[in-house]
């Protein structure tokens, strides 16, 4: 009930915005996309993708960590507890 009190107005604002986003569909099966992807795949074949994936994962995890800490900082500043 109380959570709904907050969620409803937020959703009332967000929902119309989301409704304006067109439906997006990505397909790799059409000839053009398949051709482009095959070139990209051939290029990436020369890279150690396992290492690249691991590094990207670490970078992503660090971004998430920063976002979470930044959010907590903002929350701490907003709350009247200090």
């Amino acid at each position: 009930m109380i959570t709904n009190f907050f969620l409803n107005p937020i959703w009332a604002i967000v929902s119309p915005i989301l409704d304006r986003i067109p439906d997006i569909s990505i397909s790799a099966s059409n000839p053009v996309a398949a051709s482009v992807l095959s070139y990209i795949k051939a290029g990436l074949y020369f890279l150690p993708m396992q290492t690249v994936t691991a590094i990207f994962t670490i970078i992503l995890a660090l971004w998430i960590l920063r976002v979470v800490v930044a959010f907590l900082h903002s929350l701490w500043n907003a709350l009247p507890v200090v």
């Binding site: 009930m1 009190f5 959703w11 929902s15 989301l18 990505i26 095959s38 960590l65």
Partner: protein, 504 residues
């Protein structure tokens, strides 16, 4: 200050909402069909039905009544949980006189189920010994020591002559879970049903200490076979069926002289209704119906239901029903009106944590419909992320062991001065030539990549540990003059053209 309190309230409610939210499947209350079956049996007995069971234990009786309740709920298009939960909470209690108290909705619902069951079995006034369950039989066996029998597996090749089939007609379950040694007395049972079309049997025998057979089989019913027979010889025990060419007597079970059968007992449940079936009309102001079943010291509903099953097993379940508040026992309550409420007070205290949890959930749990709408909207609008993820995963999933990519071109649609169709799909570049070198080169590149990455990580370790804003380290570098701002780069470009902005 108001804004800060508002944000505090917002965070608090969202946090509690996240904690209080339960997915729909987790909200399902585990309603015991056995418990409701016992309640239905109690209502039936108090209304004029008599049960007479033979060879049935509490589990068998509980299974029977639970199955009937499930069948009834199926007939009205509901599940047992939905049907019972729809009546409301605390529909069944026990009062200070050890009577089972059913609130009016529960009583009416159970009476409907019992009415359906009576109709199914043609139970009417004056009916006697109507067989409503004739399913199980157990075969206690004793045998000489030295050989072990395991009930569990079956090998049709082992069947002796004259027993050519293993199609247990209408058998629905077999209970045999343990090892049994010859010399020990053991029993197993089949549950037969006129509606069960399918069964799996296991029979394994160990011959002189060595496993001779371990086969599982599943069988469907065969209408030509009516009986299940148990055959034994000196080393093994067989379960099979014969065509109905003889009487179903205990002789069929004792043809093997090396095994001694101590008896064959059947299990059954019969019903009688010597007089009129009575269904009470409950006044609007009455709390419900009190079933006086002669229970003793029932601390709670579970204990009362357990006693009901025990009495049912011993064929001692009998009782009466009165509208709660109008029975004979109510007079005793009037002399000390507070006594019946003492157990209720303790029950309420015991249920206090659940009550508080329920109140918190009711106050903070978000609306299921709203959450579903949010989830659906995001799934619809951002479903392409999943497709993108699959494409990226396919691109990144390359290693020295994977198939090398091949670039092909489609020439059939090529357009030139000379017309169309210059061939089909042709290989433009096959990277299989690189495969022998990929592992070594990957190792080399990986080393440099990790070195560079770790160096960058080391330089930004302070900012990462601080968890500050993502531009914090860049701002620090700007302040220190290690890098130039975009405005400075622009000024360099304006004054010196391309490339000059990068000169220091």
């Amino acid at each position: 200050m108001k804004k800060r309190f508002f944000s505090l309230l917002l965070c608090f409610s969202l946090l509690l909402g996240a904690v209080a939210y339960r997915p729909p499947q987790a909200e399902a209350v585990a309603v015991s069909g056995v418990a409701i079956g016992a309640i239905a049996a109690a209502v039936a007995v108090a209304s004029g039905i008599s049960f007479l069971s033979s060879g049935m234990d509490q589990t068998g009786l509980a299974d029977y009544f639970a199955g009937q309740i499930e069948n009834y709920c199926s007939s009205i298009g509901e599940t047992v949980s939905d049907w019972w939960d729809g009546l409301g909470k605390d529909q069944v209690t026990v009062d200070a006189n050890n009577r089972l108290i059913l609130r009016a909705p529960a009583y009416a619902a159970v009476q409907s189920a019992v009415g359906w069951w009576r109709e199914q079995n043609a139970v009417q006034s004056g009916s006697s010994d109507i067989s409503v369950y004739n399913g199980g039989f157990s075969v206690p066996l004793t045998s000489p020591a030295g050989t072990t029998i395991k009930i569990g597996a079956y090998n049709p090749d082992l069947l002796p002559g004259g027993c050519t089939r293993f199609y247990p007609t209408n058998a629905t379950s077999v209970r045999a879970d343990n090892w049994f040694s010859f010399g020990d007395s053991f029993s197993f049972s089949f549950a037969l049903s006129s509606s069960g079309p399918y069964i799996s049997y296991w029979l394994q025998y160990v011959q002189r200490g060595a496993t001779a057979s371990s086969t599982s089989s599943s069988f469907k019913s065969l209408s030509a076979v009516e009986y299940i027979y148990l055959l034994c010889d000196s080393d093994a025990i067989y379960i099979c069926t014969l065509k109905p060419n003889g009487d179903r007597t205990s002789e069929h079970w004792s043809f093997n002289p090396s095994l001694t059968f101590s008896g064959v007992s059947s299990s059954s449940l019969a019903v009688s209704q010597p007089e009129t079936y009575t269904e009470l009309d409950i006044p609007d102001d009455a709390p419900g119906v009190a079933l006086d079943l002669g229970l003793t010291a029932a601390a709670d509903v579970d204990a009362a239901l357990q006693q009901i099953l025990e009495k049912l097993t011993a064929n001692e379940l009998a009782g009466t029903q009165t509208v709660a508040g109008s029975g004979e026992g109510e007079g005793e309550d009037e002399e000390s009106p507070y006594l019946p409420y003492i157990p209720h007070i303790f029950q309420k205290l015991e249920a206090l944590p659940d009550t508080i949890t329920g109140a918190v959930e009711a106050a903070f749990a978000p609306d299921e419909e709203l959450l579903t709408e949010i989830k659906t909207t995001f799934a619809d609008k951002f479903g392409w992320l999943r497709q993108l993820y699959l494409i990226i995963e396919d691109l990144f999933d390359q290693n020295p062991d994977s198939v090398p990519p091949v670039i092909t071109v489609y020439l059939s649609n090529a357009n030139s001065h000379y017309g169309y169709d210059y061939g089909g799909e042709e290989v433009a570049l096959d990277l299989s030539w690189y495969t022998p070198y990929k592992q070594t080169v990957d190792l080399l590149i990986s080393g440099f990549l990790w070195l560079g990455f770790l160096w960058i990580l080391f330089k930004r370790a302070a900012a990462i540990i601080q968890g500050g804003e993502m531009l914090q380290d860049e701002v620090r570098d700007l302040d220190a003059g290690y890098i130039e701002s975009n405005q400075t780069k622009f000024n360099h470009w304006r004054d010196g053209g391309f490339g000059s902005g990068w000169r220091r």
